[in-house]
Point group: C2
Chain length 254, copies 2
């Protein structure tokens, strides 16, 4: 199995390296990853300037590795289309330092790389840990789980246009409660713009804020991770509101 590994924390991230190591037990691993952190890039693609790819060495377990001055979605596009010798059968994005849960998946560079896999017809996994300290709590477990999921996908396949979004709680592996299959919860933010003044009295703004999880059922991803579970969500992008089409057709819009 040819596996393309990428992330949005950049190619030097410890999370990526552990992931490559674990996946190299499952298949032939290549890496195409951003040259620097690209968090919060959503599903951005770079079209206004050309991209540079540099082949690098020193990632144990990878047969090929490239760093790219682009987004995670760029990495998947360019990896599949140009850089890699063999077309990947699986895209794995992570291990991200910080969770990608609820509505946040729409902003997530980590998840967007997996979505780009789907768009290219390749099954995909995104994997994140909640801890973003130096400790990387749960990283080994996350990498193992990604490898387990890759094996299971190789055996069972994934439904078309579906990715697995894996998130681990901020706990030592032995204290995690186990795996829960979850739904994407609804995550909003409170006070998420911080206004400051520069030394000349002019305002500027930081996007920040506290996550507030709304309407989270017991099987939402946000709730599960809070409760100490490993969350695995089957994510797909069903974009049409089918049921509303008929009513909309009766509207007078002209």
């Amino acid at each position: 199995m040819n596996i393309l590994v990428t992330n949005d924390d950049g190619i030097r991230s410890r999370g990526l390296r552990e992931l490559v190591r674990a996946l190299s037990e499952v298949g032939t691993v290549s890496v195409v990853a951003p040259d620097q952190e690209r968090s919060g890039t959503g599903h951005a693609v770079t079209m206004h300037r050309p991209l540079r790819a540099v082949e690098i060495s020193g990632i144990p377990g990878a047969v090929q590795a490239f760093q790219l001055d682009g987004t995670p979605a760029d990495c998947v596009k360019l990896g599949v289309e140009v850089l890699l010798e063999h077309r990947p059968q699986l895209v794995v994005s992570g291990v991200n330092a910080g969770p990608n849960l609820g509505t946040d998946v729409l902003y997530s560079g980590t998840v967007s790389a997996a979505v780009e896999g789907l768009i290219m017809g390749i099954p995909a996994i995104a994997v994140s840990i909640s801890d973003h300290s130096e400790e990387w709590l749960g990283l080994d477990k996350a990498a193992q789980l990604a490898a387990g999921a890759a094996r299971a996908i190789m055996k069972n396949g994934l439904p078309e246009d579906t990715l697995l979004n894996i998130n681990l709680p901020r706990l030592p592996a032995e204290e995690m409660k186990g795996i829960k299959i979850t739904r994407v919860g609804i995550r909003r933010y409170r006070d998420f713009v911080e206004k400051r003044e520069d030394p000349w009295g002019r305002p500027y703004y930081w996007l920040t804020g506290e996550a507030v999880d709304m309407d989270e059922g017991p099987d939402s991803d946000t709730r599960a991770v809070k409760d100490g579970w490993i969350s695995i969500t089957p994510v797909r992008f069903q974009l049409t509101h089918e049921e509303f089409m008929k009513e909309l057709a009766s509207w007078n819009l002209d």
Copy 2:
């Protein structure tokens, strides 16, 4: 009705100005838009640096206008949370020069601004014309339709978490066939990376390519616009693959 107008072509775009003019007949229009073109930004938010907003004048029909050095999603976040005096009841993004159809909506800055409206609990419209020449074929019609849709939403409401994605064909208004309510089609790309060499023989890459529309039924947005119809798609982000959860729970992932 308070209406926030934004786009991804930048605040100086003719498409935005025509849209503001048309919407000012329906409600009180404010503008928060990027200071430059941000196409292909997907649902990016800017968290790695602060944002600057500058209030500007000279947009006929707008009671307030700000240009922001950020993405379309940033504009909606900051507009709603900090910049605007009154919370908008509707977000309208466009008029974009170039279509936003099929899978491309995932890359679209225009649509992402509307999605950000939904995330903040505000109904939203994205509107695009297929023409991206100097002629802006169909622009007047697009702005009128957005105003019509705003009126209809004011009257009927939109289902929760749903936006309208409006696309016009590249035709003079009188040659368009009328409105068709559509599904999001599947759009892929062929030969979408172009490799070049710099003057020193080193490779670089442009993301480009020809759109190829797959599996497009007669009511797909891609097909409708190709056939000369105005396409209106109710878009929502249903992210969980519910039907697959049970099977996934039976997998052995450890």
